[in-house]
């Protein structure tokens, strides 16, 4: 990747950057992308305008603005484009990459990138503390470097699930479920590096490749049948991006894994929930890379005794992003200043309107983001945010 000098050079670079990238030339300027984009209204150059500008030979105005950082890589545009242009992974991440080349990036995202480079995690904590969540815990969590035994499942935990206090609760719930199912599993702990999905979508392809090569080398040290991820972002990189670098590992998101064990889970889940639950489709399981994994998480929720599934207005392919992707997790201050709105808040209002008492999620960025939105929209008495893993773990007997 090089710093481009002209609009034409940029178009060529985008065409070559991802599969089907050359479809960018088929854009009919319908504007569906800009319309469906949750932040389209505040971008100086939403996707349609980026393409129009490039076709007009105008590169500089595009790169002089910083509104590209409003893009949260939610794939809404990619999903709706009639010309099937890979807008999110191809065009938008390329614009972000050019900004990064010019060292033009909001500070908070810069810190996350620097932390990932230095410590292998975006939170800036010592890698030696990555498995601290396993201490003082009723479930024994094998760390593969210590046990060195073959396992069925290499459980890829992730940055936020390892270090963030709220998300650690989800991680422990997941461990409880694995124990109840008798899954043979292990984690990497301190050897685990960030999955890098954020970086590859936020324009830091080099950082992504660096972390991927470290992870792949570590995976190769151990014997396992598949990788199961807590995070849809990790699911995406291992399934769709790692193979492009020559790293092939079978992978499932934990929702797919639990779904495969649903009959067994059904017999183990005895505690009643008695609540209306709305499920938020994460971009990573849904629109991203045409994964379209919508049914399995819903069936898991419906299997919980007493749970009543309700649907929000936007669901499945039209699900509204929590705002955490593509670097968005670190750009809330930036987005707030530009747009004065939070997608996570829209989502909570939708969930409340649908009559939900619980908003069920399946991605580690979502729990803290929606928790905040529940508070900022003053709906703490109406709705609570729970990861599917937490709901299942709570339903398990004992």
């Amino acid at each position: 990747m090089i710093q481009v000098e002209s609009a034409d050079q940029f178009l060529k670079q985008v065409s070559g950057s991802v599969a089907e990238g050359e479809r960018i030339r088929l854009c009919i300027q319908c504007g569906s992308c800009s319309g469906v984009c949750p932040f389209g209204l505040w971008m100086e150059f939403p996707p349609q305008a980026i393409i129009a500008s490039l076709r007009a030979g105008e590169l500089k105005p595009l790169l002089d603005t910083d509104s590209i950082w409003l893009c949260v890589s939610c794939y809404a545009c990619t999903n709706v484009c009639p010309a099937k242009i890979p807008l999110t992974p191809g065009l938008l991440s390329s614009v972000k990459a050019e900004k990064l080349m010019k060292s033009s990036v909001p500070t908070e995202l810069q810190d996350a990138l620097v932390n990932a480079r230095k410590y292998g995690n975006t939170v800036g904590e010592s890698p030696r503390k990555r498995a601290d969540w396993t201490a003082d815990f009723t479930v024994e969590v094998p760390i593969l470097a210590k046990t060195k035994k073959p396992v069925d499942v290499l459980w890829y935990v992730g940055d936020y699930p390892s270090y963030h206090a709220r998300v650690q609760q989800v991680t422990r719930a997941t461990a409880k479920i694995f124990k109840a199912l008798g899954v043979s599993f292990g984690i990497l702990g301190p050897e685990e590096q960030s999955d890098g999905d954020v970086f590859h979508l936020a324009g830091e392809r080099g950082l992504f490749e660096l972390l991927a090569s470290k992870n792949a080398k570590t995976f190769e040290k151990y014997e396992f049948k598949e990788i199961v991820t807590t995070d849809p972002h990790a699911y995406n990189t291992f399934k769709h991006e790692y193979p492009k670098l020559g790293y092939h590992f079978p992978v499932r998101h934990y929702a797919q894994f639990l779904h495969a064990h649903l009959n067994r889970l059904r017999s183990l889940m005895k505690n009643k929930l008695e609540a209306r639950v709305a499920y938020h489709d994460p971009c990573g399981l849904g629109r991203a890379n045409d994964n379209h994994i919508y049914q399995e998480p819903r069936e898991i929720i419906e299997a919980i005794p007493g749970a009543e599934l309700v649907e929000m207005g936007h669901n499945r392919t039209t699900s509204i992003c929590c705002g955490g992707g593509g670097g968005g997790m670190w750009l809330d201050g930036f987005a707030w200043e530009k747009a004065g709105t939070r997608t996570s808040e829209w989502r909570i209002l939708e969930a409340v309107a649908a009559g939900a008492q619980i908003l069920a999620v399946a991605c580690p960025y979502e729990t803290p983001r929606f928790d905040d939105a529940v508070k900022s929209t003053n709906h703490a008495k109406d709705i609570v945010v729970k990861d599917i893993a937490e709901l299942v773990a709570d339903a398990l007997q004992g």
Binding site: T107, E108, W330, G333, K375
Partner: protein
């Protein structure tokens, strides 16, 4: 001379700075242990009158020269070098400040005097000068010996109460003239730039809600402001927040910012590095919230809780508002 202690007195715009008194208190203790005398070295322009404030010292050497009126590193270094050439003490104390460090290292290197920094406290045992230095962001204390015949110590605040040295007295005052041509100094003071006084003066606010790196993103500062408003206080911060431009310099507590003595200091996501703690000479209640259980601030805080700052702030704001009714 052999067992004497000298203190480089710092002045800023006609006032003796607080670190000077800390050094006098330290110097007095060292001189006593050595059985020597304490000399205050006062460089400046029209500063003779300040000698009366230095009663803690046994003697004061004044070098009064227009070129020394405002701190001018090279000129001050020339004048000090001239003094030291005539006979240097057993220990020479400098402040760990914008006016002290420039001189300490320059002088030490010129004469080959060993340097110890940043020293918080001293002891004299068996004729040796022992010191305690705070390093690695406050996480480690290094103990050492200041060797002779002349050792330079760069002193940080906190080990001695400056008030102890704010005594009257009639030290012996002698004047010295610089031998070097101070006009040949390679640095020149041009002008002061006054701080922006349009914002609130946090040193006058009794309740401070202070944010550090642990606040994460700029947007989270709004929540801290809400908490401050609920408590009837103001927001302040440590250095990284100001360097990012998230809060103005007027809100900085610490070495280059304000020195505060609040009734309540709520330190949110602040580790308590020496540079920050320099801005907190005293407080009534200091509550530290930091998930790093080893953060140095816990050594001095009144209360602490290792919970996530971003989780605590909204809950605390809610409960404070409820309590106020």
């Amino acid at each position: 001379m052999a067992q004497d202690v000298w203190v480089n007195i710092e002045t800023l715009r006609g006032e003796v700075t607080e670190i000077s008194y800390t050094m006098l208190a330290a110097g007095k203790a060292i001189a006593k242990g050595l059985g020597g005398s304490l000399r205050a070295v006062l460089l400046g322009g029209n500063v003779k009158g300040l000698a009366g404030k230095l009663g803690a010292a046994d003697s004061v050497t004044v070098v009064d020269h227009p070129a020394l009126a405002d701190f001018n590193p090279d000129a001050h270094l020339l004048a000090l070098t001239d003094l030291a050439k005539k006979g240097a003490p057993r220990a020479f104390l400098f402040g760990q400040t914008a006016s002290g460090t420039d001189l300490a290292c320059g002088l030490a290197a010129k004469f080959g005097f060993p340097v110890a920094s940043p020293c918080r406290t001293f002891k004299v045992e068996g004729g040796e000068i022992l010191f305690e230095a705070v390093t690695c962001g406050g996480k480690i204390i290094a103990d050492g010996k200041l060797p002779g015949p002349t050792g330079v110590a760069i002193v940080m605040p906190g080990g001695y109460k400056p008030e102890e040295a704010m005594v009257g007295g009639s030290p012996k005052v002698d004047e010295a003239s610089p031998e070097s041509d101070l006009g040949a100094a390679r640095t020149r003071f041009r002008a002061y730039i006054e701080p922006d006084t349009s914002d609130v003066d946090i040193s006058k606010i009794p309740i401070l809600i202070s944010v550090g790196r642990g606040i994460g993103q700029k947007e989270n500062i709004d929540a801290a402001k809400e908490l401050a408003a609920a408590l009837g206080g103001e927001v302040s911060s440590s250095r990284p927040i100001v360097d990012q431009g998230w809060l103005p310099t007027s809100r900085l507590v610490g070495k280059s910012g304000k020195s505060v003595k609040p009734k309540l200091y709520l330190a949110l996501g602040i580790s308590g590095s020496p540079e920050h703690m320099e801005g907190l000479p005293s407080w009534e209640t200091l509550v530290a919230i930091n998930t790093d259980q080893k953060a140095p601030i816990y050594d001095v805080a009144t209360f602490g809780a290792a919970v996530d700052v971003l989780e605590l702030i909204p809950k605390l704001t809610e409960k404070v508002k409820a309590a106020k009714g």
